[in-house]
Symmetry: C2
Subunit: 306 residues, 2 copies
DNA sequence: ATTCCATTGTTGTCCTGGACAAACAGATTG
DNA sequence: CAATCTGTTTGTCCAGGACAACAATGGAAT
């Protein structure tokens, strides 16, 4: 089979694949000398797959807090070393039992076995109960799957498979727990540009279990719509989730705007790995990068409201 | 409440909201005189909400096949007239019973009643059976919800609500229908850039019901991954869905590439409104803009394979 | 030593204006 | 009526420049 289809990617394709904008790709090229795409017969940039892979790795390191000047021009070997060290720096969660499920999950994903995966996870849920399942199993699993994808061990569709299985599980759990008269009433969603919705589902499961009423709007809700929905549902709290990939610079302004549009009486809880690097949020806005802090926040809310 | 937060949007925000790229926004400005954004204190474009709404409308008309020179510079009144006429041109599906559910669904969405919506849809599913529910109820409902959103009657989060409810319903149905030994084995997904996944779920439900084995990879799977998954799952058919908003120019090249990467023995069925305007697909590739054509294709496949 | 502030460097995003292939519409021909 | 040709439209890419927001740095003050 000849490669009758050219294996290089256009700048637009690279933007889509890596999440790095065209402007930034061009700037890095002049500033750091990498990427160094070929040119096609029209003089347009043509990125070979190796460079795209390296860009993916660079993106991952940047999400972990590194700065471009340090890594973009770095050699392949050093880059891999950095990636390994940043990966080792994740002890995260109670270890032990989780690692079994981790290995098995990755195995099933590689074998493309959605039914088996769902069954296995459901069994784990029944064994541990929702709370420990979410905190001790799912949280590290998410990391493991994300890492495996970044390392190229899983394709994106295998990550989708995982996401679907977990969503299905959590939705069913939340569904059976929800009670429209419960308090506080909590709205959960993500802002536009943020596609990762597992976090809010996990939080919704935890909070529903503790007797809160959770409404999930799914991902990517404009601030305006959040405010409108919050009013319509008469909620007490709005939960937002920011993944590590969310442009950090946009978080605080967005929180400030939402803060202004919601009445003073509605709290905002901002969670997810992207919220960990922040300081000084607006009034009545709480940062909780770790999942279990949502439970603490719920306790405090209850204490404050009789 | 003063508007202490400026109500205008940056060019990046407009790109996100409308799906029109920055380059195109700037070109339209010089070519047609619209949009005509204000400038902020740094000289950067600041789009007022009215212009963004109009851009949304323009995008919709372009998706319906109109060309920018005709509509971008057009007056507000003419634009609205065009929108109405293009909307009236949709008779679609057996009418009658569907309209009741339609009205009720929109009502429930406006009232933000997810539980009620799910219950109502489920009742309809039980009443009609999966096949008629999908073809006669869901298909027109999708259009109605899309239209209502484009007309500004629904917020994006209300569309999410709808999507979630339908997904939940269909997933459960498919789940109970799936049998790993059934044939043909069918893989369903969408290409990157295509976010609308309801179509493939609907097709999966129909085909599962007729005894096919369906594997859904969710949305936005790169061609490479599709080929890999198709081999791993040993499938007979790959179903792709293209919404009307998918850049038409990219469909045929993508199909050709996938065609090349799959073996000769795997068929491709391309569906969704975006596939309606195409001609001359690659070999062993079938276009089926309408949902019920998937059933015909299944029949033919069975006839051809004993 | 630690905290604070000011200065300096880095970095993503936006800008203008130009080029061009691919898609299209419409006229012309078989 | 179908097919081919031709001029126009249109989305995407390019280069190179500007700049605010952010991060790092190096003292000065506690």
């Amino acid at each position: 089979m000849e490669s009758s289809v050219s294996p290089t990617l256009s700048i637009a394709a690279v933007e889509r694949e890596t999440g790095i904008s065209k402007d930034v790709l061009r700037k890095w090229e002049t500033r750091y000398g990498f990427p160094a795409p070929l040119r096609d017969s029209f003089g347009e940039r043509a990125y070979p797959p190796e460079q795209v892979n390296r860009l993916r790795l660079i993106k991952r390191l940047m999400d972990a807090g590194m700065r471009p000047a340090r890594i973009v021009a770095e050699s392949e070997a050093n880059l891999n070393a950095l990636a390994l060290s940043s990966q080792a720096a994740r002890p995260r969660g109670k270890q032990g039992s989780a690692t079994d499920v981790e290995a098995m999950t990755l195995e099933m994903l590689r074998n493309e076995d959605p039914a088996g995966l769902r069954q296995r996870l459901y069994r784990e849920l029944l064994r541990l109960g929702v709370e420990r399942f979410v905190l001790d199993t799912l949280a590290p699993l998410n990391h493991a799957v994300g890492e495996a994808w970044a390392r190229g061990e899983l394709g994106i569709h295998e990550e989708h498979l995982y996401t679907e299985a977990v969503q299905w599980l959590l939705r069913n759990a939340i569904d059976n727990l929800s009670d429209a008269r419960a308090t506080p009433r909590i709205l959960l969603t993500t802002l536009p540009e943020e596609q990762h919705g597992l976090g809010i589902l996990m939080v919704a499961a935890l909070l529903s279990l503790r007797g809160a009423y959770c409404i999930s709007l799914g991902t990517q809700t404009p601030v305006q719509d959040i405010a409108q929905a919050a009013a319509a549902h008469n909620v007490d709290v709005v939960v937002l989730s920011f993944s590590i990939a969310y442009p950090q610079r946009r978080i605080l302004p967005a929180l400030a705007e939402l803060r202004q549009r919601l009445g003073e009486n509605i709290e905002i809880w901002a969670g997810g790995a992207g919220s960990a690097r922040l300081h000084s949020p607006p009034a009545h806005t709480r940062l909780q990068p770790d999942m279990d802090q949502a439970l603490a926040a719920l306790g405090e809310w209850r204490a404050a409201h009789q």
